[in-house]
Amino acid sequence: MSARYAFYPGCTLHSTGVEFGASTELVCQALGLELVEIPDWNCCGASSAHSVDYRLFLALPARNLAQAQAVGLEELAIPCAACFSRLAAADLALREDGAFRAEMEALLGFTYEGRVRPRNLLDIVANDVTAAALRAPVVQPLAGLKVVSYYGCLLIRPPQYTGQWDDPEHPQSMDQVVGLLGAEAVPWSYGIDCCGGSLTLNRSDVVVHLVDKLVRAAHEAGAEALVTACPMCMANVDGRQLYRGGSPWPRPAKPDYEPLPIFYFTELMALAYGLPMQKVLGRHLVDPRPLLGRLGLG
């Protein structure tokens, strides 16, 4: 299949979320999804904008929608959950708040047409691509790989921004994609619980508390890894199992469980599609390669 999407990468896709960026590129190529990066995009504001100013929270992503309009495509693919949420919020505000729209149009020199739809990448993969098309490129079914789908927060909440592309209390799209790749998505109850988000540097105790809960639950569910679609969740779950925060000296106590690797769903797709992933996987802090080696998945 072939489809063109405008593309908003977001700040982390080539830095802390580099694995997400690399695997997204590979996978979209394999699926025939052309991603047209919108020109001169800016940071969406992440967690910091809404924390200090309501209008800034909407204005920063609004500029990206203005830039996206210029591309001329109707669907805007956004890999990062937070970026997706901010752009969706801005789109809603531009559509429904006449005063805000007028202000943005004046400041940014554009006319809002409302024709660009912000969509999360997982939504596109799960809903725009047919099951057959998703399965077609699989050369190495991920047999024996038991994972839990970790959706996190902003992919599916709040419903008025996400448009409820998946159920806010019981999402299933990632489980379905993982299943089509031949892996087993085991059921668990923590799929939509928060990882601690941006508190990771300044209140790492909160993040450690939440990540520990998640990984213990994954163990109890019988999973050997987690799968996610959010760079923040990845950073926290990948980082905070081993790096427990605070000063490195004296060494903080290790967790009382076996650390589990966490994948981006696009990494699993790339792996199943036989695309070169070893270097990308090597960038994880909890190395997933031993697990994959045990399962005979190169």
Binding site: T16, N42, D53, Q67, L201, R203, G282, L285
Partner: protein, 181 residues
Amino acid sequence: MKPDLTFVEQVSELSHQNVRRCYYCLRCSAGCPAAPFMEYTPAQILRLVQLGQKEVLLHSSAIWLCIGCETCGTRCPNEIHAGAVIDALRQLALAEKVPVGERTVWKLHEAFLDSIRHWGRLHELTMLMQYKLTSRDLFSDLDMGLAMFLRGKIHPLPQRIAGLEQIQRLFAMTGKDVEVE
């Protein structure tokens, strides 16, 4: 304590949330991942807003611990986004120059927003450096930082966008172009 009913008006308007609809079922507090760490959980924060306890709230650490996970608003039977109310309280705390209850949380946001103002996109390295210096927390996570840098996940060089001037206009619009202490 004598309730002051004007504060709830102010906060409702600023946050775009109808705080008076709250009937204190406490579902938000029940689902909040940060609640165990907060001295006032979300429902208590809403109640204190209703009772006009401005000083207590603006000085609290709790309002800085909201992660923005949107669980509260999604499950609230009266569709109140407690997180949005908390954001409004943060705004008021900053506007009134109250000493921030969780200083390091604010310092991170400040460093992040400074980075956007300077480059248009986040540059992690300089943002983290500013955060470390201003938060005076120099040594935490040096190990994790190093591990990430060695794996190419932290870029040494920033990228400045062409439309930076527009970004700065947006900051100016909100009055956030001035650096806060």
